[in-house]
Symmetry: C2
Subunit: 197 residues, 2 copies
Amino acid sequence: MSAGEQRERKPRADVQRNRTALLETAQRHFLQHGVGTSLEAVAKEAGVGPGTLYRHFPTREALLAAVLHTRSEELVARQAGIDQLADPAQALEQWLRAMEEYFSAFSGLPDPLMAAARAQEPDNPLTIPCHTLITATDQYVQAAQLTGHVRDSVRGNDLFLAACSVAWIKGTGADEESLDRLRTLIASGYRRQDTQA
Amino acid sequence: MSAGEQRERKPRADVQRNRTALLETAQRHFLQHGVGTSLEAVAKEAGVGPGTLYRHFPTREALLAAVLHTRSEELVARQAGIDQLADPAQALEQWLRAMEEYFSAFSGLPDPLMAAARAQEPDNPLTIPCHTLITATDQYVQAAQLTGHVRDSVRGNDLFLAACSVAWIKGTGADEESLDRLRTLIASGYRRQDTQA
DNA sequence: ATCAAAACGGATGCTGCCTCCGTACGCATT
DNA sequence: AATGCGTACGGAGGCAGCATCCGTTTTGAT
């Protein structure tokens, strides 16, 4: 009636119900079997037909993006804590760790993530979140550069890639020691004059 | 007849013929469509049935390993050249580059490679080649450490992982500039006191 | 020329993807 | 309480790829 604000029919109840059921089931399956898990199995276990799954989430990536969206709340929570830190170098380090854990939540996640990060695919539902993360990383980098802890040549994108890499390697089943050595190597790469052995 | 050297029937001609046809076709398909390419399509284009393919190469990885074996000749050729270099730091750098290019020959190759590298799967046909490469990398690392160009804390395995990572990122379609920045970051990570920006 | 071993190859069963359309459900209206 | 309409459901079905099995063909040896 009033200007432009069309009076819509109230959305059906089963829509929201199915959507959340799908998201929960999908998250469980992604956790257990990686991002390549069978969507048919997800649908069946959520108690819906394949058609319903595909209507809610037209592609695997759409489903993945939706699941990640709920998961990202945890990330922003950590971000709040990190922003409290006085030392920008420490903040950067913890932020990288937080991203890495976020990326390695599901095995195989880094691949679609990288595919989305290279943009040029505005329809990819993961593109926006990716660029948000890169920008956030760049902020931490710049803050740490101002205090002289990080080389000026480093960009947020570089460390985003590095975090993705570590997450990818973790997903391939590498042992924790190798991962720690690699993290150290990367840290030596972005930190200024860190001359110890 | 003579001691123990059992006189075997001469192997059939079509075996070798089919094997090489499969390898050539497989390499082409791996190059064009990545390691996930359809094996049925490979068999068809090689002019054999699926059964023949699977008899020659029981798993996708076996086929992949065989193709990589022929490709590795190129790598050892480069290795000979690298061993001529006087500067161990330069040798290490070039060796890493050579590995990286070897790993990124087919899109998706780094994943099965990493799966094989974590050993514990002696039946995986890629395991042995992987460990050979890690050992070779360690040699270059140690040589460069003797001249003080590389941090003592670095191990061959670390740089093997790093090379895999870069190859993986390359395979996801990253632009060349990002790759170069990442390589630089890693180099800053393993080199001793490289204090410039 | 014949034989037996060895290799072939395609038919087959299976799993997963994704679409399409008849059906059922839920909200609004009476 | 009953009716009607639009929305959402869900499963059947077509397709592609994997991996196996077994009747048939090829090949080397005699």
